[in-house]
Amino acid sequence: MSERADKRGGQEPDAHLDTVKRAEDTPAERQPYAELGMKTDEYDRVRDILGRRPTSSELAIYSVMWSEHCSYKSSKVHLRQFGTKAPESDALLVGMGENAGVVDIGDGWAATFKIESHNHPSYVEPHQGAATGVGGIVRDIMSMGARPIAVMDALRFGAADAHDTRRVLPGVVEGISHYGNCLGLPNVGGEVVFDPCYIGNPLVNALCVGLLRKDQIKLATAPGPGNKVVLFGALTGPDGIGGASVLASATFEDESHAKRPSVQVGDPFMEKLLIECCLELYQADVVVGIQDLGAAGVSCATTELAAKGTGGMDVRLDLVPLRDPSLRPEEILMSESQERMMAVVTPDDIDAFMAICTKWDIPATVIGEVTDSGRLVMTWYGETIVDIPPGTAADDGPVYERPFHEPAGQVALNADDPARLARPDDLRATLLELLGSPNLASKEWVTSQYDRYVRGNTVLAQPADAGVLRISEVMPGAEETTRGIALSTDGNGRYARLDPYAGAQLALAEAYRNVAVTGAKPLAVTDCLNFGSPEDPEVMWQFAEATRGLADACKALGVPVTGGNVSFYNQTGSTPIHPTPVVGVLGVIDDVAKRVRSGFTGPDEKIILLGDTEEEFGGSEWAHVAHGHLGGLPPQADLEAERALGLVLTEAASRGLLTGSHDLSDGGLAIALAEACLAQGVGCTVSLTGEDAFVDLFSESSARALVTVAPESFEAFAELCAAHEVPCYGLGTTGGTSLTVEGVLDVPVTELRETHTATLPGIFG
């Protein structure tokens, strides 16, 4: 008998406790399902499944497990395409549906990675919202059996100079900085984008990547009747309970239970201990199944583990160690207290398991046991309060085919071609205007708050096109491999607003290209799909188009989606954000020492532009900055060209032909040249090849990259391009102290730097 049970000895029976027996006896009792976000037909389905009304604890479980966030009920029918259209891939070891996808990177090693949103909490409480976003995704990676090795963040804010951005951005950055830095995970990349559409709905998408031996993948499953269920990590408190307080206050007349905080509070120190503890548990091979506690806390962990295992589990909810002893069972079930994990352990290993937790000062408690009953049964001081088939909560949630149709203004938006916009005469001024604009300006104000060096495996980090990490020194046993991994996230909401199908493809294409320019071969995809309300048919159309576009592009480029996250309801009133699919691509480089550095790395090298430039200004940075214009169509996504470009870049890197590289994206060639100069302070002199200097410099055609080669390598490189039919244009030579476009503009690198670095400190201090 537990200590707390002892303490309760002699007390009156809990009159407020809604037991299974009481539910059977009071079928007509009105339940607050609507307040918990459940529709009447969903509630009726629960009653059908159970053959009675649910207890308040069961209602807590079903309401969170069937929420949009946990059940993907609006997105599921569209997300299925990522499976049905998935390309053939030898690399995929674990696909969608687990905590994170796992990819074979060779030599017996695997990488697991995933991106996830923490948008709404980050608006309410920027610091904790963003911090716990990092914490949550790191635990997903840990629960696959991996050592987390790096993080990155894709962020979207309202206009940079908007009043509320000055509240949200510094808080978000500080939250990521504090949590990630304390965990000892290098932050190696990401994005910071400003657009007025995000003012009431900032996006905080956090990505984590981890490394594990290919044969040591852990899964969220609870097999083996008699095995113990252990809850370990932080104590359970009243944080992140949100809606569940409705239940608690309905059964428990206490004001304090009606006002629970909805945003969780993180403790990165506990998470760091949890990482090291888990790795030691894996090393000792004492874990049968494991699941992190994220959204929906104990409800999610127990139902999912049980559903994927033997099928049954008995849990004594009163044994959950609490930070606040007044918590009610419904609240314990829904609490989103951070830094908690649940493991399934054989009785033989339980002592060894507990000893390792003790070494790391991690509280660990056996709260239940795996059974073959097919039921998840929970008791509270001896009384049964939950008795359900776990799969009905975990897997059999509602699925909606939401109606969708093209937005009313879409045709007019696409017809509003940027060709009508006045073109600039002074291209030098345009270059500087763009380079200093918040979206293209240096993000050092943000990234200097992140530790990019810790653990000593960072080969490339921001502002490089992709983060690159070596593998050999991550863990014992990896010493022999020369491999590295590369990661990038990208997404352009303006492109997706103009054409969500193409916009999603362009997001993938850019991330794919960013990985390829480092010399890595793109292998797999994770995505975070940020949209408005799925109940708005116009938003649903954007979602349907974006998922269709992304699935088709993944097939065309041969990179499967391994997992990710959907974030709906990013809207203020009836105004949704731009549809913002953020795509992360993971690649592998066979010899990480052959990685290609970003930009111009020395003088007297030949500068080559790869890919063709068309007149494409729809959704461009120039139209946005110079005219505040959004209309027309985004650049064409030419996936065949993208794939060929990737092959050339990867092969050229492995043959040691490239001395530097950089992808072309927002702001076109002009910005790519400026950033290449800024990378190491090396200037250049180039000539344009097209008829219109403005188009050459600022068009945003996709499937393009800038590379440098030593003069003696030029011929071999040109042959390689020809073999893959990748257009290849010699632009000029690196060197000097200015960016010179002959006959067009000349800007000293020092002036570029001043313009590039002044903007964010000027706004955020």
Binding site: K272, L273, V454, R455, N457
Partner: protein, 227 residues
């Protein structure tokens, strides 16, 4: 001849222990893991206190670590002459343990800062800096939120007067440290603390764009071999 043995301490929340151990190995030494709860120095010839957020930096950076069981062994050994290097959180712990004077406060800019920082070597008469030349300017990463070195006037003038300032920031002070102080030593010179991270600047492929951190490890290993 067996390799010199350099202990690398891990507290709960230590982050740069792996980097420190790697840097010791690359320089030809043997890195010996030392655990905070185990009051045993394992006969090491020198100790590296790496950076991180020991005990979550709760209360005050380094304030809890100084009471760790290992520190009960380390503090008297250091006072007796054992070479000890503390970087970042390690420097904070050395100050909290009163093995070095002064304290590290919140950065003047109030933000955590990670950047490649110019540092001038001011004193080479320590076992950790003998391979540098006096006045040599090197580049090491800094990455901290609480690195502003402060001390009372008497302590400062004693540090300066005795040549006990070992490192000074050049090309901009990242945190508002008094006199641009990046690192200091004790009277005997065996104990050195600094905010920058030599262990992140020892390889061409990874870490900072410099390998200037190697000098710390070559200095101590030469010293230990010649003992």
């Amino acid at each position: 001849m067996s390799a010199a043995r350099v202990g690398v301490v891990t507290f709960p929340g230590t982050l740069d222990d792996q980097d420190a151990a790697r840097a010791v190995r690359h320089a030809g030494g043997e890195a010996v893991p030392l655990w905070h709860a185990d009051p045993d120095l394992k006969g090491v010839d020198a100790v590296f206190l790496p950076g991180g957020f020991s005990y979550g930096d709760y209360l005050r950076c380094g304030a809890i670590s100084r009471f760790a069981p290992l520190m009960e062994e380390l503090i008297p050994a250091a006072r007796a002459g054992l070479p000890v290097l503390g970087t970042c959180n390690g420097f904070q712990i050395l100050c909290e343990a009163h093995l070095l004077p002064g304290a590290l406060m919140r950065n003047a800019g109030l933000h955590y800062i990670c950047r490649d920082q110019g540092v001038r070597v001011e004193n080479t008469a320590t076992p950790w800096t003998s391979d540098f030349t006096e006045g040599q300017e090197i580049v090491l990463p800094v990455k901290h939120g609480e690195g502003r070195y402060v001390a009372d006037e008497a302590t400062l003038s004693a540090l300066e007067g005795n040549g006990h300032v070992v490192f000074r920031y050049v090309g901009g002070n990242p945190n508002g440290s008094l006199n641009d102080i990046a690192g200091i030593r004790n009277e005997a010179g065996n104990i050195v603390g600094l905010m920058p991270h030599p262990e992140h600047a020892v390889e061409d492929l990874t870490g900072a764009p410099s390998t200037d951190g190697r000098g710390f490890f070559s200095s101590i290993l030469k010293k230990l071999v010649n003992l």
